[in-house]
């Protein structure tokens, strides 16, 4: 049996407007998890994993140099960002639950922001909740947050994926990140 050819998948689904991400998700989800697991076993404890670096590694492994099409790369990264979000959230949820025994999340105090306050897993969960909220009112901006934050995508890549100008991406992103920060901080 053949390995699923991601490039072909991208091309195949690129024609069926927007479904690429959905179809790619399970594939990428599995691949990213596998990559993370393999990396950790290889590099032992003490080494750290950057999620966005992992996404890039997945691209190189699954598609690599064989496909230099920007549109494909953008679709791929969009799907990979969403996969990475799910992976991190699942992991954070598990950890956070163990720690808090299921209590609610505590919002961040804006004044403590620079002190790296709060546990990272809680922060991730807060951000995820905020993104979910944003998805209801403005799904495009929510998508941009996922791509920027979880996938480390450039404005150019996002613009390519969404079919808008880079300037528009920059504008949405500026607004969305401010909105996001407000959403995760305590009322003053």
């Amino acid at each position: 049996m053949l390995e699923p050819d991601v490039t072909l998948l991208l091309q195949f689904l690129g024609k069926d407007d927007g479904r690429a991400s959905n179809e790619l998700l399970p594939l990428l989800y599995a691949e990213l998890r596998r990559l993370a697991g393999a990396r950790m076993r290889r590099e032992k404890a003490g080494h750290t994993l950057q999620p966005t670096a992992l996404v890039h590694e997945a691209w190189m492994r699954m598609v690599g140099e064989t496909d230099r099409t920007w549109a494909n790369r953008a679709h791929f990264f969009a799907a990979a960002s969403e996969s990475m979000r799910r992976i991190l959230i699942e992991s954070a949820r598990r950890k956070s639950r163990i720690k808090r025994g299921g209590g609610g999340l505590v919002k961040i105090n804006l004044d403590d922001l620079d002190l790296a306050a709060g546990e990272v897993d809680d922060n991730i969960l807060l951000i995820d909740e905020a993104i979910e909220e944003l998805e209801k009112s403005d799904p495009e901006k929510a998508g941009i947050v996922v791509m920027k934050f979880f996938g480390g995508m450039t404005n150019q890549e996002i613009a390519q994926h969404l079919g808008v100008t880079e300037r528009t991406v920059e504008r949405h992103w500026a607004y969305a990140r401010a909105w996001l920060l407000r959403a995760v901080t305590k009322e003053q």
Partner: protein, 747 residues
């Protein structure tokens, strides 16, 4: 995002460029146009803006140092490092394969017997329960399969983590295609292996098991004392893991489970899962055979996926692939060399080996409608055996009539490809030049290669002096090949448009065949005018082709001109035919010249010129051996000649000779009709009306019967023009009979 949100975002975007809070505030005062709530919201948001990026960067930085990613359970490949662990009662020993579908391990079974098996663990994402349930439903049937060329599926179950697995007889071997190429198996050797595969599939079908996923990677060849032995693996698995497919899951199905749609039958692509039967496997066997013979699949699997779902289905449902011989002919020179070498053959030999029987066998297995395929794997195997034994095969070119019917049915569908051809040709020199070189490449290996090259070189030399002419020559040669391709796909109208743009001096051999097919297409539709034009062109262009073929071209045109009642043109044609074949010693040519030049009475001079042809037929004693097949029938030409000379008794005599020896004429063939009609005509002229009557009736019956339905190009015994000939003669006989009745009513 609604317009109010958008407006707010635009204001925000401008405001964040401003340095101080005061500047921002006064800008917002204006921009918000008195909407105090909006201003407050935006000011608040602006206060978060400077810290937002830093915050997000900070969190991501911390993710890196956290253990979030380290603690991901490594589920999807949990068995990667699991060699040595137990799955059910099987101990994993070694990973021997991995694919879209899952991983395959060599495993050891300890009870009830100790043996090595192959264990295939299906990837996550399947509904394990229904997979196992579907497998259980097949288990009974699978257990009944017992064939040396089938790897048995022994068991199935679910791992502790809920993934389905299958246990199979362990086969150590190579993909059949790889094995054949690596060992440079000849065509007969490949066909021998393929026959074994057919027998295995037949056995499974008899036990009620359909494979559904026959492709090279599921047929492994291992070498035994007795020679190479193919084994079909994965029987029953495709059905078990085949989810009810929807468009949405389709791709996953293709890429993960099935790998490539290149081997998929049209009905499988339609996704009506319940509608799959054994003949779907026959199609896949056809694809496998195609690949064993040519090294390629009829349609490129990746191209199919790339074309998108609808196009993929459309292609599999509507498009006829190139015949194997054509596929090989269109390969680049070095690719063709390599393909031939892998079969211990040479390009020309390979092409001629494929051309004919093997082409038709493969194409029959690949029929779109399954009732037109071989109905069983055994039938396919027997057919190949017949080919290997040099016996006639049952597969025949699909009748022109059938193809015409299909053409009419398909006509509504616009063929994008046709448009592409025209565009490419219209696109001008760049494409044409490319086509020119491609064609040059292709013609190098074509059967009449030398002649072509000379033509092309001549064209190129002429063109060096005159670029316009070069271009025209190149385009014409490209068009010839394109037209031949269009005709092969029954796209006659398009082909004709293309052909009429080719100047006569640039016609090629492919072009002649194309023109001939077009003429026949018109003729069987009774469009005599365009048919005559095309046959005329064929005869003009084709002064070099073997006489056998061109004598048939004269026959075609003779009938066509008679139907057109163009006496002058017919006269010219028969003079030309007599000149061209004067001095022939071949009986069948002499017979043909006589028959087709005597559709209308000759003058004395013409009769004189025809007498050598009669001599050719009557001076030579008939060889008893060849008499057993066809020779007696060549007297039909003599009979026709004697009739036209008024030698009715001799004419009747020769007709009788033919009829006494039916030989291989075939029951109900056109020449039986002709002999009867001509005999009746002789009898009438001799005043033996009562004798004439039954022969006339016999002949008339045959002809009337034949013309009840549209004429096929050929019905296996007679060509369309044989029947037109009979019809013309019948018309003459009918008027003769009425005439006789009128003149001598007292008879």
């Amino acid at each position: 995002m609604n317009s109010k949100q958008e407006q707010e975002e635009l204001i925000f975007d401008q405001a964040r460029e401003l340095k101080s809070l005061a500047e921002q505030s006064s800008f917002l005062e204006q921009a918000c146009n008195g909407d105090a709530e909006m201003k407050r919201r935006l000011l608040e948001l602006l206060s978060f803006e400077p810290k937002a990026q830093r915050f997000l960067d900070g969190v991501m930085g911390k993710v890196k140092d956290s253990h979030l990613l380290e603690e991901i359970p490594d589920a999807p490949d949990e068995f990667d490092d699991q060699v040595g662990t137990m799955v059910g009662r099987y101990k994993l020993l070694e990973k021997i394969g991995e694919g879209g579908c899952g991983s395959v391990y060599m495993a050891e079974q300890t009870e009830p017997v100790r043996r090595r098996v192959a264990l295939k663990i299906i990837k996550l994402g399947m509904d394990t329960k229904s997979v196992v349930a579907r497998f259980d439903a097949e288990r009974q049937a699978l257990a009944l399969m017992d064939h040396p060329n089938i790897a048995r599926v022994l068991d199935a179950g679910a791992t502790e983590t809920g993934r389905p697995y299958f246990v199979m007889e362990l086969v150590r071997g190579f993909k059949i295609t790889e094995y054949c190429d690596a060992n440079q198996l000849t065509m007969p050797q490949r066909l021998g292996l393929f026959i074994q595969v057919c027998h295995a599939v037949q056995h499974a079908h008899q036990k009620g098991v359909i494979h559904r996923d026959i492709k090279p990677s599921n047929i492994l060849v291992s070498v035994h004392d007795s020679g190479p032995m193919p084994k079909v693996i994965d029987f029953g698995i495709a059905k078990a893991i085949e989810e009810p497919l929807t468009d949405l899951t389709l791709f996953t199905a293709y890429s993960q489970l099935i790998g490539t749609p290149a081997y998929m039958s049209p009905e499988q692509a339609e996704m009506r899962g319940s509608d799959i039967d054994t003949r779907s496997d026959i199609y896949s066997l056809g694809v496998l055979l195609y690949e064993l013979l040519t090294g390629k699949t009829p349609f490129d699997g990746q191209e199919l996926i790339r074309s998108g779902l609808d196009n993929l289905r459309h292609t599999l449902r509507e498009q006829y692939p190139q015949r194997p011989s054509t596929m090989v002919t269109t390969m680049q020179g070095n690719e063709l060399q390599a393909t031939a070498k892998r079969r211990q053959s040479e390009p020309l030999k390979l092409i001629s080996a494929l051309n004919g029987d093997l082409d038709w066998i493969v194409m029959k297995a690949l029929e779109k409608e399954r009732q037109r395929r071989y109905q069983t794997a055994n039938a396919l195997a027997m057919e190949i055996q017949r080919y290997l034994d040099h016996e006639p095969v049952l597969a025949r070119p699909p009748s022109r009539f059938y193809r015409l019917r299909k053409l009419v049915r398909r006509n509504q569908i616009a063929f994008a490809a046709a448009a592409a051809v025209f565009l490419a040709l219209a696109a001008g020199f760049g494409v044409s030049t490319w086509m020119f070189f491609r064609e040059r490449e292709a013609t190098k290996i074509a059967v009449d290669a030398k002649e072509h090259e000379a033509q092309l070189r001549a064209a190129a030399e002429r063109g060096a002096a005159n670029e316009v002419e070069l271009r025209q020559a190149a385009e014409s040669h490209a068009k010839n090949i394109q037209a031949a391709g269009l005709i092969q796909n029954n796209r006659f109208e398009e082909a004709e448009k293309l052909m009429t743009t080719i100047p006569q001096k640039y016609q090629t051999m492919e072009g002649i065949q194309a023109l001939r097919s077009l003429g026949e297409w018109h003729a069987i539709r009774k469009e005599w005018q365009p048919a005559a034009k095309l046959f005329d062109l064929v005869l003009k262009v084709n002064q070099s082709e073997a006489t056998y073929y061109s004598s048939l071209d004269y026959a075609r045109q003779a009938c066509t001109l008679m139907k057109l009642k163009d006496a002058a043109a017919y006269e010219t044609l028969r003079q030309d035919m007599i000149r061209r074949f004067a001095g022939t010693t071949e009986r069948h040519i002499a017979d043909r010249v006589l028959r087709y030049s005597l559709l209308s009475p000759p003058d004395a001079k013409l009769s004189e010129r025809l007498s050598p042809f009669v001599g050719c037929l009557t001076n030579q004693p008939i060889n008893p051996a060849s008499f057993a097949d066809d020779s007696a029938w060549h007297y039909l030409g003599v009979a026709m000649y004697e009739y036209r000379q008024g030698q009715y008794a001799d004419g009747a005599n020769y007709c009788q000779k033919c009829l006494n020896y039916i030989g291989r004429a075939g029951p109900g063939s056109a020449r039986i009709a002709v002999a009867n009609i001509l005999l009746a005509m002789c009898d009438v002229q001799l005043g033996r009306k009562d004798d004439a009557q039954p022969h006339f009736a016999d002949g008339k019956d045959l002809v009337d019967q034949k013309f009840k339905t549209p004429l096929p190009a050929t019905d296996g015994f007679s060509s369309w023009f044989d029947w037109i000939y009979a019809r013309i003669l019948l018309d003459e006989a009918e008027s003769l009979m009425t005439c006789e009745n009128y003149i001598s009513p007292g008879h």
